[in-house]
């Protein structure tokens, strides 16, 4: 097959420093999907952007060619006018953030038809007809309504569909998708990937898929280019690269990819429980101020949450964005006050249980010493103006522990625990990578010797290989210090390795709760099944089962009779077998 685009010896750098993309070459055959895989900083995004010449201003193209078949024009050399004719027409692009890539002031229909007006000189009516046809194909139930709606009316997944429609409406020969699903929930990701695949099959275009997720690669790609630090590590057919990786880096990436384990038998129901944290009939409603004279509306973030975290174990709450899982975590730490009637009890070691939301200042300080939090975004969780040393000694200072010297020693020791060197104490956080910062954030949470750690998606902003290391670290610390974790995540595969008990949340309620082994052995709720099915795994032989995803990921009112619920009237969470609870009608 003739290559549609060949990239030859592409080198891009910033300023006087070493190139960030270094001698990259690859070819994209007509009608196939090429995946550019790599971690952040590998140069994969710069590489794919250079094809459309949309590099950041400071980037210098140092060498290389991008040849577009059939005339083999070098896209890096042609005039600005010519490249504008190609953008959106022959080659189009989908970006990572569906929330930011649509103009909030223009209707979806107008934005999408603009491409046709620019490149096809289409009249309004023709353009609208093609756009509606495209909307239909990307899976909008009511294209007419979508045409008229504005981006804020659509969910993330729907916006990404609109972006895809925009990219596809001019029937490009190449679609560049830059991490198109990274910002989406797992189930939505599966559906969007399925859509891209379908469209590709129908239109026979080529696709460059930029991703950090080998699971996505296995589901989508014909060919793979693995990049690391600006260089191509390995390239070849996806099946071969994934099954028999030839390069050490590829092997490491594959090993780090989280998997949902195959389970032979369910977990044994555990015996007596010694809980450290108990949440009883938790409920949180937010009042939305409507403004003006309209009545305030209220939104229930979570309700009917009964969870108990056993000392020394990990309880994971899994759910998509907006499922109420983070609200639960914040309530558990006392950062948010739940509705009347909710109870959260903390059982310190050898102390009376503390009602987390009814504490005097001194009791509260005592509770905070024992319960700490690890945050999601390693880039915003450390103050950029404080040296690492100051950040780590800050909690000790607040609680008045030790003198200056002891505090410093404790900080150095915690750094050692998380695998970092104590030289870091005098540095500032911005010199460090995301993984290192997450370690620092963990070290800070550990300075007060807590018993309970609440981890709010601690790995979801990290690269796969770094995620793997952080999970190792968290497991090691838990086992060594006898910590208990409340682990919030959207990723069942991550949870599967660290959790002792998993609660799956959807729309503010727990739909299924069981130890991970039981959950994976016998998932009962359609939503749990959808989550498991939607998990992309780096194994060509295990493609995503879209039918299962579609069934479970829909609205709760579309679930099978037994599980269906509508609005506030959900069925109860009942125990179907020991230790396995499912929200279903009897």
């Amino acid at each position: 097959m003739a290559p549609l685009i060949s990239v030859e010896d592409l080198t891009i750098g910033f300023g006087a420093s070493a190139p960030v993309v270094d001698g990259v070459s690859f070819e994209i055959p007509e009608g196939r999907t090429l995946a550019l895989v790599g971690e952040s900083g590998s140069g994969k995004t710069l590489t794919c952007r250079s094809i459309l010449r949309i590099l950041p201003g400071a980037a210098q193209l140092r060498s290389g060619k991008v040849l577009l078949a059939p005339e083999n024009k070098d896209l890096l050399k042609i005039s600005d006018r010519d490249i504008r004719d190609i953008r959106g027409n022959l080659i189009s692009m989908i970006f990572q953030e569906p929330m930011r890539s649509l103009s909030p002031l223009h209707g979806i229909g107008d934005q999408v038809s603009e491409v046709l007006c620019l490149h096809r000189d289409a009249g309004r009516r023709d353009a609208k007809r093609s756009v509606m046809d495209m909307f239909d194909r990307v899976g909008f139930a009511d294209p007419e309504r979508t045409y008229r709606s504005y981006p804020f009316e659509l969910s993330g997944g729907m916006r990404q569909r609109a972006m895809i429609a925009m990219a596809m409406v001019a029937r490009p020969r190449l679609l560049i998708a830059d991490e198109p699903t990274t910002a989406l929930d797992v189930t939505t990701q599966a559906q969007v990937l399925g859509l891209i695949k379908d469209l590709q099959r129908q239109t026979e275009m080529s696709v460059i898929l930029v991703t950090h997720d080998l699971g996505v690669v296995a589901n989508m790609a014909d060919d793979v280019v693995v990049m690391n630090r600006g260089r191509v590590m390995e390239a070849g057919p996806a099946a071969k690269v994934l099954s028999t990786p030839g390069h050490g880096y590829t092997r490491r990436l594959i090993a780090a990819a989280p998997l949902i384990p195959e389970v032979a038998k369910p977990a044994n129901a555990s015996g007596v429980a010694d809980p450290i944290l108990e949440m009883k009939s938790l409920r949180k409603t937010y009042k939305l101020r409507a403004g003006g004279w309209r009545k305030a509306t209220s939104v229930t973030a979570c309700r009917d949450i009964n969870l108990s975290l056993v000392r020394g174990q990990t309880l994971a709450i899994v759910g998509e964005s907006g499922s109420g899982k983070s609200t639960c975590a914040r309530i558990a730490l006392g950062a948010e006050v739940p509705d009347e009637g909710s109870e959260v009890w903390f059982h310190g070691k050898g102390a009376d249980p503390l009602p987390v939301h009814d504490l005097a200042r001194t009791e509260r300080l005592r509770f905070q010493r024992q319960a700490q939090m690890v945050f999601q975004d390693p880039y915003s969780s450390l103050s950029p103006r404080m040296r690492i040393g100051a950040t780590l000694t800050e909690p000790l200072e607040i609680h008045g522990i030790g003198d200056k010297q002891t505090r410093k020693e404790i900080a150095a020791e915690r750094l050692k625990w998380v695998g970092l060197h104590k030289d870091m104490l005098s540095r500032y956080p911005h010199a460090f990578s995301g993984g290192q910062r997450q370690r620092l954030s963990i070290a800070r949470a550990l300075t007060l010797d807590p018993q309970l750690l609440i981890c709010d998606e601690p790995t979801s902003a990290l690269d796969v290989s770094v995620q793997d290391q952080i999970l190792d670290l968290l497991e090691g610390i838990r086992d060594r210090m006898g910590l208990s974790y409340l682990f919030i995540s959207h990723d069942l595969a991550v949870v599967s390795r660290i959790a002792d008990e998993v609660a799956v949340m959807r729309q503010g309620v727990i739909v299924e709760q069981a130890p991970p082994d039981t959950l994976f052995y016998d998932p009962q709720h359609p939503y749990t099944k959808a989550l498991i099915a939607a998990q992309p795994e780096p194994d060509i032989a295990r493609p995503i089962d879209l039918a299962l995803v579609a069934q479970g990921a829909g609205a709760p009112s579309s679930w099978p009779e037994m599980f269906r619920f509508d609005g506030q009237s959900a069925p109860d969470l009942r125990e179907t077998s020991p230790g396995h609870k499912v929200r279903c009608h009897a």
Partner: protein
């Protein structure tokens, strides 16, 4: 580089899977925020030059008396409205160092004003490090040594003299002492109020926020100039120049804080969502500590930038008030007070040099704006 038999490419450069966990990821970012900001600011040519210029201006302030050939209220009664004099170096093809020609006042009976005859035959060299009238360095060390004085029997009016025969150049130097510091004092007052109200509104939100917001709106809705006028008219006229000066700066500050409070509040609302602030809350830090230790340092640079951008407004405010005769009063000297003398259109036409105090105002205000711009551009060193 190697192609495998199965059509696959594998990089054959040595690959070391071991990672040094403590290795610094971004060498270029391994410095304090101030250093990073400075690195970026250094490249902002205009801002840098303005910064150096302003620094020089402020360093010179305490020594204005030393540089000025005259003291501010020293009158040369024989030389009213004397035009600016040139300093020359060569006399009849011979280098004799800096000198001026002596002048004598002649009554111009046709136009009813003084004109000055220059005696070009007698070059009179300037005196350096000479004894002149007494002034005090930085306001408290008395001295009478001047950098340069007029030669005996001649005058040294670099930028001319005014209605009472006072040297405009010397008065501009002395005027800078008040005009440049009024901005600093005003900004201090404005910052104290703005940060305090902005911070509590932004951090606590709710009813407190609502009250402060409404108060700001009321303050902002008052017409500025009449309010200044009313407030300064309330200053008793028997107060000394220094007391008036302080009151004027405080009035300027009190009226300036709402804008800043809004900026601070907006920034606080954004910062409150940052995870390091939440982390501090979870550690049990009190609000005061969170605001002072975690939030303020993170936008101190924004504060500095907005301060540099609001000082010019203060300077212009003082000038406007004094120009209208409601700000500082003689014998105090400020640029506005000097311009007060230039209110008469006719006198500007005949004696254009009386409007010279406008120049330092323009230059200083521009310099502050350039500096502020430069600072604002380099505040976020983490971007790109």
């Amino acid at each position: 580089m190697s192609m495998q038999p199965d059509g696959r490419y594998i990089d054959n450069a040595p690959y070391d899977p071991a990672i040094d966990l403590s290795a610094i990821d971004r060498e270029d970012m391994d410095a304090s925020n101030a250093r990073l900001v400075w690195r970026k600011f250094r490249r902002h040519r205009l801002g840098l030059i303005s910064g150096v210029f302003l620094a020089l201006c402020y360093i010179v302030l305490p020594f204005a008396g030393f540089i000025a050939p005259y003291t501010p209220n020293e009158r040369s009664a024989d030389f009213l409205y004397h035009p600016p004099q040139d300093i020359r170096f060569w006399h009849e093809g011979e280098f004799i160092g800096p000198y001026v020609y002596p002048t004598t006042a002649v009554a111009d009976l046709e136009n009813f004003r003084w004109s000055y005859d220059v005696d070009e035959t007698r070059p009179m060299p300037l005196q350096f490090f000479c004894q002149g009238s007494t002034y005090s360095i930085a306001g408290f060390i008395p001295s009478n040594t001047h950098l340069v004085c007029a030669p005996v029997g001649a005058t040294l009016f670099l930028w001319g003299s005014d209605r009472l025969g006072r040297d405009v150049f010397s008065r501009i130097l002395y005027g800078a002492q008040l005009s440049l510091t009024v901005g600093l004092i005003g900004i201090t007052v404005s910052f104290a109020l703005g940060i305090f109200f902005g911070a509590i509104a932004g951090y606590f939100g709710g009813a407190l926020d609502w009250t402060i917001q409404r108060a700001i709106e009321v303050l902002r809705s008052l017409p500025e100039l009449p309010l200044w006028l009313a407030l300064s008219a309330a200053v008793p006229s028997n107060w000394g120049p220094v007391a008036v000066f302080f009151i004027i700066s405080i009035i300027l500050g009190v009226l300036d804080w709402p804008g800043l409070a809004r900026a601070v509040r907006a920034k606080f609302l954004a910062l409150r969502e940052e995870e390091f602030v939440r982390a501090a809350e979870m550690m049990g830090a009190r609000p005061g500590r969170i605001i002072m230790r975690h939030m303020l340092p993170n936008f101190s640079s924004h504060l500095i930038a907005s301060a540099t951008l609001s000082i010019p407004a203060m300077i212009l405010g003082e000038t406007a008030l004094s120009f209208l005769g409601l700000g500082l009063r003689a014998p105090a000297v400020s640029w506005g007070v000097m311009l007060n003398d230039a209110q008469n259109l006719a006198s500007i036409e005949i004696y254009p040099w009386t409007a010279i105090p406008m120049l330092p105002i323009i230059v200083v205000v521009l310099a502050f704006n350039f500096l502020g711009d430069g600072l604002r551009d380099s505040l976020d060193p983490y971007k790109d």
